[in-house]
Every structure is written in structure tokens, then in C-alpha cells.
């Protein structure tokens, strides 16, 4: 029955116009970035590497499809939480507002099974959205700009990754980015269990991300103990996959922490939903 419920959730997501907003937004934003870099990419690279120009001589062009893909990811991954929350924040509360939750909850399917199917559908949607970003960043960019070694700026300085290493690292980076984005999806589905309209969970998710990000960036001793355990601290963990050597210990900690967030958020969602009176 869980698979049937997951299928039903997927049918609804596919039929809802708002589900396509994220794909449209990604296509437009990537299009703008690609156009800008195609027209004036050299100036952009010069600006980014200006501090290194005294000590570094580059032969050829650093601008290639992999670098553009990396830039696209860096620019867009911060916007994806909103696009994810737009759909996942609506999964329970939107049905409550429409009155269709009544129809679903009077079927011979457990509340737990129904809600887990919604978390499952949220995972599928997040994955597909991220895949679309991946296609745009890692397949379309190299098609336009060609491939080459990837130059990445980090705290350690400029690192050059050979082109044959880049695609596997992108794949792993998408895995870590999925873990972070699915945490956002779990948060919005869980908030959705408390509300009877979809605005609240969407705003609530974004507000949580903003507050946690602020706590993460404020250099206050009080927050030092908390900071490593906020999921927002690990939203950019995917970037570590482009360091050499890869800090696998840090990445593992990020993945475990994000996984713990999934379990906690899904647990809260189930506890709430099992006891919720459906009054709409």
C-alpha cells in the first residue's frame, strides 16, 4: 500500500502546476548564468583570480564547462531550498486547506503510511529537481564551453583538478547536496503537518534556514557549541568534494548529522500527524 500511496503522491505532484516552477526557475537562472559567462566569462575569471595574478601565470583559459558547472552549482544551490519548500511545504497543509486530506484519511491506509509516502514523494521531487540542475550544470555547460581541468578557489588557495577526476566528484557532490536539500524537504513536510495552509510551512522553512544561517555566521562564542549541529552549517558540504585531498571525515560527519535531522524531523512529523484532528 505504501507504494500505491507513493504513486498517488507522485501523480498529484506531476499534475500540480507549481511543481514545475522550480524547473522553470532553474532553467532560466542557469540560462542567464551561461549567457553571462559566454559573453563576458574572461572578465569574471580575472575578477575572481585578481588576488592571485601576482603569483600565478595561467596558460590557456580557465573557463571551461566544468568550471561553469561548478559556478552554476555554487550560485544556485542556495536558492534550491525555496524551490523545494514551495512543493514539499504544500504536501500535507495544502491537502488540509483543499479538504482532500479528509478523503485520504478515511481510506484503509494508516496515517503513518500516508505521511511516509509524502516524505517519499518529497525525496523523489528533491532528487529530480537536483538532477535537473545537474543536467543543466554538468551536461549543458561542457557542451557549450567544452571540458578541461577544473580550477577551484578554496581557503588553501587555487586547486587544479584534472578533468578525468571532475565528473566523479560532481556525482558525489550531488549526493551530499541531496542529503542537505532533503533535510529542507523534511523540515517543510514536518511543518506542513502543523498547518492548514501551505504559506505557513514555506515561510517557516525559509525563516528557519535564515535564522540558522545567521547563527552559523555570527562570530559569537555562545553559538560555537551549537553551530556544528545546525543543518545549515552542512548545506555547502558538497563543496568539500572539490578539495584535494577530500576531507572525508568532515563529509561523513555532515552526512550523519543530516541523516539524524531526517530521522528527527520525520519522527516529529509522524508523532504530530498520528494525533492530528482533521477539522478542515
Amino acid at each position: 500500500m505504501w507504494w500505491t500511496a507513493l504513486r498517488n503522491e507522485s501523480v498529484k505532484i506531476l499534475a500540480k502546476p507549481r511543481s514545475y516552477l522550480g524547473f522553470l526557475a532553474i532553467t532560466l537562472l542557469v540560462g542567464v548564468i551561461l549567457l553571462a559567462l559566454a559573453l563576458d566569462g574572461k572578465s569574471y575569471i580575472e575578477f575572481v583570480t585578481s588576488s592571485l595574478q601576482q603569483s600565478l601565470t595561467v596558460e590557456g583559459s580557465m573557463l571551461n564547462g566544468y568550471l561553469v558547472g561548478f559556478i552554476v552549482l555554487q550560485m544556485l544551490v542556495v536558492h534550491l531550498p525555496l524551490l523545494v519548500a514551495l512543493v514539499t511545504g504544500d504536501l500535507v497543509s495544502g491537502e488540509a486547506a483543499m479538504g482532500t486530506l479528509r478523503n485520504l484519511l478515511t481510506r484503509p491506509l494508516s496515517r503513518r503510511g500516508l505521511l511516509l509516502s509524502k516524505y517519499g514523494a518529497a525525496a523523489v521531487y528533491t532528487l529530480v529537481l537536483l538532477l535537473w540542475l545537474g543536467i543543466m550544470a554538468v551536461l549543458v555547460s561542457p557542451w557549450i564551453f567544452g571540458v578541461g581541468d577544473l580550477a577551484v578557489l578554496s581557503n588553501e588557495g587555487l586547486q587544479i583538478l584534472p578533468s578525468e577526476e571532475v565528473l566523479p566528484r560532481f556525482l558525489q557532490a550531488f549526493g551530499v547536496a541531496f542529503a542537505a536539500l532533503y533535510t529542507v524537504a523534511c523540515l517543510s513536510v514536518t511543518l506542513s503537518c502543523f498547518a492548514d495552509n501551505s504559506i505557513g510551512p514555506i515561510v517557516g522553512t525559509m525563516a528557519t534556514i535564515m535564522v540558522f544561517t545567521l547563527i552559523g555566521t555570527l562570530d559569537v562564542a555562545l553559538f560555537d557549541q551549537v553551530r556544528p549541529f545546525l543543518f545549515t552549517t552542512h548545506m555547502a558540504a558538497w563543496r568539500s568534494l572539490f578539495l584535494d585531498p577530500v576531507p572525508w571525515g568532515d563529509i561523513l560527519f555532515s552526512m550523519v548529522l543530516l541523516g539524524a535531522h531526517w530521522v528527527l524531523l520525520i519522527g516529529i512529523g509522524l508523532w504530530t500527524f498520528e494525533r492530528k484532528d482533521i477539522l478542515t
Binding site: N8, V11, K12, P17, M98, R102, T106, R107, P108, R275
Partner: protein, 316 residues
């Protein structure tokens, strides 16, 4: 669909024992007791705010009772939720659907959720039953309220339930729609053997189909019994069509029949009178200059219900 056993006639389908539901400090249902036997059509009546919708929502596990016990088919939701819901179909308050899906897609989706083996076939069958054939592929957003009510009835029959709970199924229907809905309810009960729990403010519709009645007020059961027995026990109502009905009522209230009459929603004077009192009442009216056009002796659910609630509320 989960396997099920046939329900013997006269077995109890619903049993509510001291059912209580509190919303904060407000008590919506206050120790409600009633029983529904298999094979009947129970009219579940009460004024607005009496706790009808809250009770119906508890019956289908949309809300949980604060206290008391609820048994459906002899089972409770705590241990047999899915088994019970496999045998109940319901239309609660208003028919809500996914507006961005077609009528058929909506039914198919709910049929799958109900465990129906051939969701498409069953959905088409029910669209035909409720008179919506030809509109299968139209989006629900294009449906009128009446069509949504019909679709609402179809969705609650998808898994061939034993008990059908209908909350205001006639709301927003035109006269033809009301007649069709009544016939569908009778068909479900008489031809398909389903037990029906019907909550409605359309008393004439309830009267036409109900075999049993439960009247609730302020969260409590005021009366329960077979419709026939309750109506025959009640005082016979005399409906008098008289000119200047309001003045006539005031005169009667000031005279020998004080408190015995009232005006119904059509402005007619109705009184609870014994057969031997009728000539005297008519003479009293005509002697005081009122023109009496018609006298009708009847036992209608509407009169019974209004008298019952008036008495109950006066007693409280």
C-alpha cells in the same frame, strides 16, 4: 480490499458509549450514546452546533474522542483502524477533490488508496451510477456544486463499503438533484444492502428515507428510536392555514391554547391538538374574525423535530 464478513441484519454497526470531544474548554460532544443497527438508514439530526459533524468525524477517525468509546462493526479504531475504514465510505461536509485532476483521475487515485483491484473500471462504474457518465475526463474545477456532490457520493462507494456516512449530501442541490440523491440513497440501502447514516437539515429528505432517528442537541442524544415509532408516539399536529396567522397565534397564546401553537417556516399555524379539540379551536378563530382556509392533520418529521427541540431547550 481486505476480506470481510457479512454483517447479520440487526447486528450493531455503530455503538457510541459516553462519547466526549473537547476542543480546549469547549465541549462539542458531551457523553453521547447511540447505536446503529445493520441494514437501516439512520437520520442523524440536530441544530447547528449540536455536535453532529464532530460526531461524524469521530466515526470515520478524522478526529479522536477525548473520552468514551466508539465501536464500529464491534471493533475500535485503536486496534483495527484499517479494517474498519475498509468497510466505511463517507462524504463529510462537502465534496472536495483535486481541482487540477479530472473526475476520473480523482476517483482512480482514491480507489487505489482504498485498495480497489481495478480502480479504473470501478471508477467508471460509479460515475455511471451517480449520473456523471460522459464527464469522466473533465477537470473537477469545471464541475457545478451538484456534480461535485454526486462525485462525492461516488468516491465514498469506491471500495463497496458496508456503512455509508453522509453528512449533508443534499446541500446545494436543486430539486431534481435532491430527488436523485434520495433515490440513490434508497437504492444503496434497499438494493445493495448498505447501512446508511445520514445527517441533514433537509428534514423532508430524511423523512423519506430514514428507518431510525437520532436527535442530538448540545452534544447529547435527545432521542433515539425507529422513525415510525417515534413519529407515532408524538402528538398529532394540526396545521391550520389562516389569514393573519401571527395575530391568530398571539390570540391563541393569550387564550385557552397558550403555548400550544407555533408558526412554521411557511407562515402556517401549527398546533398540537387532540382530535376532539379541533372544532373548538376553529370556532374560536372564526368567532374572533379570522378566516380559516384549510385544516390538515399530520405527523411530519419537521413538526416532531421542532417540538422535540423546543421542549428539550425549554427543559434545559
Amino acid at each position: 480490499m481486505s476480506p470481510r464478513t457479512l454483517i447479520p441484519i440487526d447486528s450493531t454497526v455503530v455503538k457510541a458509549v459516553d462519547l466526549v470531544k473537547d476542543y480546549g474548554t469547549f465541549r462539542a460532544v458531551d457523553g453521547l450514546n447511540f447505536e446503529l443497527k445493520a441494514g437501516g438508514v439512520m437520520g442523524f439530526l440536530g441544530p447547528n452546533g449540536a455536535g453532529k459533524s464532530t460526531t461524524l468525524r469521530m466515526l470515520v477517525d478524522l478526529i479522536r474522542p477525548s473520552r468514551g468509546q466508539l465501536f464500529l462493526f464491534g471493533l475500535n479504531y485503536r486496534s483495527h483502524r484499517q479494517h474498519i475504514l475498509a468497510r466505511i465510505g463517507c462524504l463529510i461536509e462537502k465534496p472536495d477533490f483535486y481541482k487540477y485532476l479530472s473526475a476520473l483521475q480523482n476517483l482512480e487515485l482514491l480507489a487505489r488508496a482504498s485498495g480497489v483491484k481495478e480502480p479504473r473500471l470501478r471508477s467508471l462504474e460509479l460515475m455511471d451510477f451517480v449520473g456523471l457518465n460522459g464527464r469522466e475526463n473533465d477537470k473537477v474545477s469545471s464541475f457545478s456544486h451538484g456534480m461535485r456532490q454526486r462525485l462525492g457520493l461516488a468516491q465514498c462507494l469506491l471500495h463497496d463499503p458496508d456503512l455509508v456516512v453522509l453528512d449533508e449530501p443534499g446541500t446545494g442541490l436543486d430539486p431534481q438533484g435532491l430527488v436523485d440523491m434520495r433515490e440513490m440513497i434508497l437504492n444503496l440501502n434497499r438494493e445493495q444492502g448498505k447501512t446508511i447514516l445520514l445527517s441533514s437539515h433537509h428534514l423532508s429528505e430524511v423523512e423519506a428515507v430514514a428507518t431510525d432517528l437520532v436527535v442530538v442537541d448540545r452534544g447529547r442524544c435527545v432521542v433515539q428510536g425507529s422513525a415510525k415509532a417515534l413519529l407515532s408516539q408524538s402528538e398529532r399536529q394540526i396545521r391550520i392555514t389562516v389569514g393573519r396567522a401571527t395575530e391568530a397565534l398571539a390570540l391563541l397564546n393569550a387564550g385557552p391554547w397558550a403555548g400550544g401553537g407555533r408558526l412554521n417556516d411557511r407562515g402556517e399555524l401549527t398546533m398540537a391538538l387532540g382530535r376532539e379539540e379541533v372544532p373548538a379551536a376553529v370556532q374560536f378563530l372564526t368567532q374572533n374574525g379570522f378566516e380559516v382556509y384549510a385544516i390538515e392533520s399530520r405527523q411530519k418529521l419537521e413538526d416532531y423535530y421542532m417540538n422535540l427541540l423546543n421542549h428539550h431547550q425549554t427543559e434545559r
